[in-house]
């Protein structure tokens, strides 16, 4: 006791030196803040990853909004999209046409798969208790996860971006990887297209009405069965497109879905379950926080996102843009 509390304690003596070391470490960790190249690079990485995250979480949030089902298999659909794209690109590596076909093929294949899943399985359990719905989507995680291993094997595939997109682009005196800029451009186009579909088409009116009151929509004579199938197919197609787009910047392997689905859940909770605008804002937020978190606190940044998710659920469970609980 005496040794600990007295001034002779080695702990107390070491304190100033220790705190100086901590400050040094923090300064070292944050040195990149003064470096515009690093900041710009991380921002670009954050925004482009955020756009990928948006493609998957937009579908997840739409499906939850309309059908009230949390689709745990959405990350797995993303992964399947990446594998489909890898197979198509392998036919003619680095060719622009093959890559375009991979993007379209990934989206189209997943739209079909999604429609099949909705019509074959989910349609039967919309009225079932939450736990049965969760289990059904979990069953899809297990089945599709193993199907991927059976079809494409267990090893990681690398997918080359087409030659036209694989260089670097100079802008504002800095160089950026062209593919990252391409990802952002596609994300913006998809966001605008989604907004247009939801706000300027008859289908969009039905979807938005369904998120408010499914029963009323059905009572008004809208074919909600077909509507639900189309929403799930669209959500799956977006995930497939996301997977195909991500293929050149990730390792396309059977473990791909795990991190993606967790991030997408965080995004959907922060943005507000059911809100596409919320998904966009939260995707960019999470993408950027992750990109800088890796620099500021290497290895522990991922704790931040779950803490953020928990705080949002406690303080404002409907998220940034969600409808009231």
């Amino acid at each position: 006791m005496a040794e600990l509390s007295g001034h002779g304690s080695p702990v107390v003596k070491a304190l100033p030196a220790y705190s100086a070391r901590v400050i040094d470490l923090v300064v070292q960790q944050l040195a990149w803040v003064q470096n515009p190249v690093v900041v710009a690079r991380q921002l670009l990485a954050g925004v482009s990853n955020g756009m990928l995250l948006f493609l998957i979480s937009a579908g997840l949030t739409l499906i939850f909004g309309v059908m009230r089902v949390l689709n745990f298999a959405h990350g797995t659909l993303f992964m399947v999209g990446a594998f489909v794209a890898a197979s198509i690109v392998a036919l003619a590596p680095q060719q622009g046409a093959a890559f375009a076909a991979a993007l379209l093929g990934g989206a189209a294949a997943l739209a079909l798969l999604g429609a099949g899943i909705e019509a074959g399985i989910l349609r039967r359990i919309y009225r079932a208790p939450h736990e049965l719905q969760l289990l059904a989507t979990f069953a899809l995680v297990f089945i599709l996860g193993d199907a991927v291993k059976l079809i494409w094997g267990r090893e990681d595939h690398t997918v080359a971006a087409p030659a036209a997109l694989s260089g670097a682009t100079r802008a504002l005196g800095l160089t950026f990887p062209t593919y990252r800029l391409f990802l952002i451009a596609v994300g913006v186009v998809v966001a605008i297209a989604l907004w247009w579909m939801l706000h300027r088409t008859r289908w969009g009116i039905f979807v938005r009405a369904a998120t408010m009151d499914r029963g009323m929509l059905s009572a008004l004579g809208v074919n909600t069965r077909r509507l639900f199938t189309s929403v799930f197919a669209l959500g799956a197609a977006l995930a497939g497109l996301g997977g195909a787009l991500a293929a050149p910047v990730v390792a396309v392997g059977p473990g791909l879905h795990a991190q993606v689905i967790i991030d997408a859940f965080v995004v959907v909770v922060i943005g507000g379950m059911g809100s596409v605008v919320g998904a966009l804002v939260a995707s960019l937020l999470v993408g950027i926080v992750n990109a800088f978190g890796i620099l500021a606190m290497p290895g522990t940044a991922v704790v931040l996102t779950f803490a953020l998710m928990a705080i949002v659920l406690i303080v404002r469970p409907r998220g940034l843009f969600g409808a009231p609980e």
């Binding site: 736990e131 979990f138 996860g145 859940f265 779950f306 928990a310």
Partner: protein
């Protein structure tokens, strides 16, 4: 007549199952005794989960957090606490339960503020938080590699004796949970599932009641995790990962959420299926996925529901 007959039958069933449970290691091989220990641990895990879901109507998507925390608490106690092996082992059940209850108190405090899918997501977020901590706090948890080489002292290292150790902990735990759901506390809990608002109007503190249930069930899941950890000798961060959340739900639904022991039956079937299938193919998740889909689509009330329906048909 039905009451008297039911009494007789249930007494007979209780005696038979007690004899069966005590006789298990004398009939089964060492390997299957080892599996029987796993069944016991998962039975308690699934039943504790179902007290939340089937009785309280609270779908926790983070119950694996407490099973995992119990496992880590037991592992750290036995391996890194520096106590004599016998002492550490004697403290194990208490430590696993107390640590899991402490985590459940904090997580539950925040989670019961919400209901329905938001409650599920909150519990899930906390479990994933613990998962990342288990991965990153390498000094305490062994990080990615987990903690291996845990061994109970002396004779308990043999499955035969460890089985009775596990049974001596888990049978009373199940009995306590049964007493809990059959008590006024348990009936209030069932009323909460049916209509929380009306229960609140009667003057029950709904959140306190839910929190108490969350902590008690979390503690028993922790005990299950601790018992299981020392049986297999390992704890891995995967116990806390997202797919682990589904395990107690699968067991509970497989057995039937409407009955007290249904989830225990579900746990037994799940564990045995896993042993049989994963011994033959590496595609155990695929098989499990198909089983879950069939379950959800064809028999949503589980094995217990099937049994009751058959019994009703026979009675007619």
């Amino acid at each position: 007549m039905r009451g008297a007959g039911g009494m007789n039958r249930s007494t007979v069933i209780s005696i038979l199952s007690a004899v069966a449970l005590l006789g298990v290691p004398w009939v089964l091989s060492e390997f299957w005794t080892f599996i029987a220990i796993e069944v016991l641990a998962f039975a308690l895990y699934a039943v504790s989960f179902n007290v939340l879901l089937g009785y309280g109507g609270m779908l926790s998507f983070g119950h694996a957090a407490f099973f995992g925390v119990g496992g880590y608490a037991a592992a750290i106690l036995v391996k890194s606490a520096g106590l004599p092996a016998g002492v550490a082992f004697a403290l194990l059940p208490l430590a696993a339960m107390v640590v899991a209850a402490a985590f459940a108190a904090v997580i539950g405090f925040f989670s019961v503020q919400r209901s329905g899918i938001y409650f599920a997501m909150l519990t899930f977020a906390f479990q994933m938080l613990l998962y990342t901590i288990a991965l990153k706090a390498t000094g305490l948890t062994g990080g990615d590699d987990g903690m291996t080489g845990l061994k109970p002292p002396g004779l308990l290292a043999q499955p035969l004796y460890y089985y009775y150790f596990a049974l001596a902990l888990i049978a009373p735990a199940l009995y306590l949970l049964y007493r809990l759901v059959s008590s006024p506390f348990g009936y209030t809990l069932r009323a909460l599932r049916a209509n929380p608002r009306r229960v609140q109007y009667i003057g029950v503190d709904v959140r306190a009641h839910q929190l108490a249930t969350f902590v008690i069930t979390g503690a028993f899941a922790g005990l299950a995790g601790g018992v299981f950890a020392l049986s297999t000798g390992n704890v891995f961060p995967g116990w806390l990962n997202w797919t682990a959340s589904a395990t107690p739900i699968i067991m509970a639904v497989l057995g039937g959420v409407q009955t007290f022991l249904g989830p225990a039956l579900g746990a037994a079937v799940y564990v045995v299926l896993e042993v049989l299938i994963s011994g033959r193919t590496e595609y155990w998740p695929l098989a499990m996925g198909v089983v879950i889909l069939l379950l959800v689509l064809a028999m949503p009330s589980g094995l217990a529901g099937l049994w009751q329906r058959k019994a009703a048909e026979v009675a007619q």
